[in-house]
Amino acid sequence: MKRTSKPIQLLSSKSALLNYSFLIGCLFFAIAGKAQQNTLTAIGNVSGAPADMRQSELKAVLMGETQRWKNGKRIIIALMKTNTALGKTTSLKIYDMSGDELNKYWLSLVFQGKAQAPVFFTSVSDLQNFVAQNPGAIGIIDKPMASADVRAVMIDGKPSF
């Protein structure tokens, strides 16, 4: 049986340690990346959406159960498409539904004449622009942003949830 010398054993265990460290590092960044993706932020057009909302109020708005803001403006919902990573997170975290369930939910509501469908986007910047240009609009993105026409809506006192 072939025996490995001590220095070579030490070298190979060091290399294994480096490999493991690299793998653990990758895993950490992957989890960190995913955690970041799991964080959502609500943004709203300054004309309509309030600066603060409770999570239950946000859910009622995004489910089409609340259809007007307190100032009477019609609520327009802007969401990322359910086949995007952010759209999947939105479906799961806010609606407790899969992407297909969410699409079916809205198609059904629109078919019943109970609500206007949300506007779906493939890019966050398009969604932000839409919210900026449409009074009464509210949208869900991944990180807080604000501009002259858009405000980050605090949910339960936090900028992200």
Binding site: R74, D100, L107, G113, A117
Partner: protein
């Protein structure tokens, strides 16, 4: 006075509609079927087109038109305008609704109606196919939804009654619909409704001529629970039809559906239907019937669903029916 009121309403609508970018969408449903009942048959169902349009910040429109097979037509097809709804949002979740609507009497009629891709089973329950309910009403009313913690909703509607055409009433009487529902927890809806109408003597309803006046009361209740795994839906309608000669006769129509999601896309299900007519019932002219359905639904995605179903129907004074049907329903 009436002209002033009409002018005021017109001005309000004009003001509400001005300077608004219109958003119009067209969607549709269709299905193809293959069935076996002593022989194999292929066919396709209604082709349903529905249009939604946001006319202004407060006014919206929904139109639904169905193209379907009709053996009596020269072309063998007929066009049926199923819904024409103009909605004016009064405030919050309260709306004024005008036009032709699905009578909001039951869960199924209001929720699925022609959208077969939404149907949990291949066909409507017998409660709807046996003309127990007036499926549509033309008129005006109010509706509200998701009010308060229990998410209370209501529909109050006045319309042309049974025997009327799409454009005019056949008598002075109006039908009245009052429906209420609550959604106390997520994915659960409990509803009750009441419908009253007078079918005038000489009226034709569902191609049947009625010599006597009939006073109709319909009382319905429904429970719908579409959970993550378990799906339950049950509805019952008591129809009380009164004529001077026969007195009041009761009809009870009900069904219960249960499905269980094995995975997100696979749902085996069962449904039981029963309709019992009291002896001497003059309006419905139906025979007691019960049906058992067992099937399997595969939801490819939210716009494409395949169902395979076995149905056993037991009719009084008629032979039992056993059939197997497969359906591919899509939304587009």
């Amino acid at each position: 006075m009436k002209i002033k009121l009409l002018l005021t309403i017109c001005v309000c609508f004009f003001l509400a509609a001005r300077s608004f970018a219109q958003a119009t969408q067209i969607k549709g449903f269709v299905d193809v079927t293959a069935g076996y009942n002593k022989k194999t048959t292929f066919g396709f169902g209604e082709q349903d087109l529905f249009i939604t349009s946001a006319i202004s910040d407060r006014i919206s429109f929904l139109g639904e038109t169905v193209f379907k097979y009709d053996a009596e037509e020269h072309s063998e097809f007929t066009i049926s305008v199923e819904r024409v709804i103009i909605t004016y949002n009064l405030f919050g979740n309260h709306n004024l609704v005008m036009g032709k609507i699905h009578t909001p009497l039951n869960y199924w009629n209001d929720t699925y109606h022609h959208g077969r891709v939404f149907f949990p089973t291949i066909d409507r329950p017998l409660l709807f196919s046996a003309s127990i309910l007036p499926l549509h009403t033309v008129g005006v009313g109010f509706e509200g939804h998701d009010l308060g913690k229990i998410k209370f909703g209501y529909n109050l509607f006045v319309g042309n009654g049974l025997g009327s055409s799409e454009v005019a009433d056949n008598d002075k009487g109006k039908c009245i619909t009052a429906a209420f529902h609550i959604k106390p927890v997520n994915r659960l809806k409990i509803g009750m409704s009441y419908y009253y109408d007078v079918v005038s003597a000489g009226a034709d309803v569902h191609d049947i001529h009625y010599d006597h006046q009939i006073n109709q009361h319909l009382i319905s209740a429904s429970i719908a629970r579409f959970g993550k795994k378990l799906e339950l839906l049950t509805e019952a309608t008591a129809g009380l039809n009164h004529t001077d000669s026969t007195g009041t006769k009761n009809t009870l129509a009900a069904y219960a559906y249960a499905g269980y999601k094995i995975k997100e896309k696979y749902v085996p299900y069962v449904r039981y239907d029963n309709i019992s007519y009291q002896s001497g019932e003059m309006y419905y002219k139906g025979k007691n019937v019960q049906s058992f359905v067992a099937g399997f639904r595969y939801e490819i995605n939210y716009l494409a669903v395949v169902k395979l179903e076995y149905q056993h129907i037991e009719n009084t004074n008629a032979a039992d029916v056993d059939k197997v049907t497969a359906q591919f329903a899509i939304g587009f």
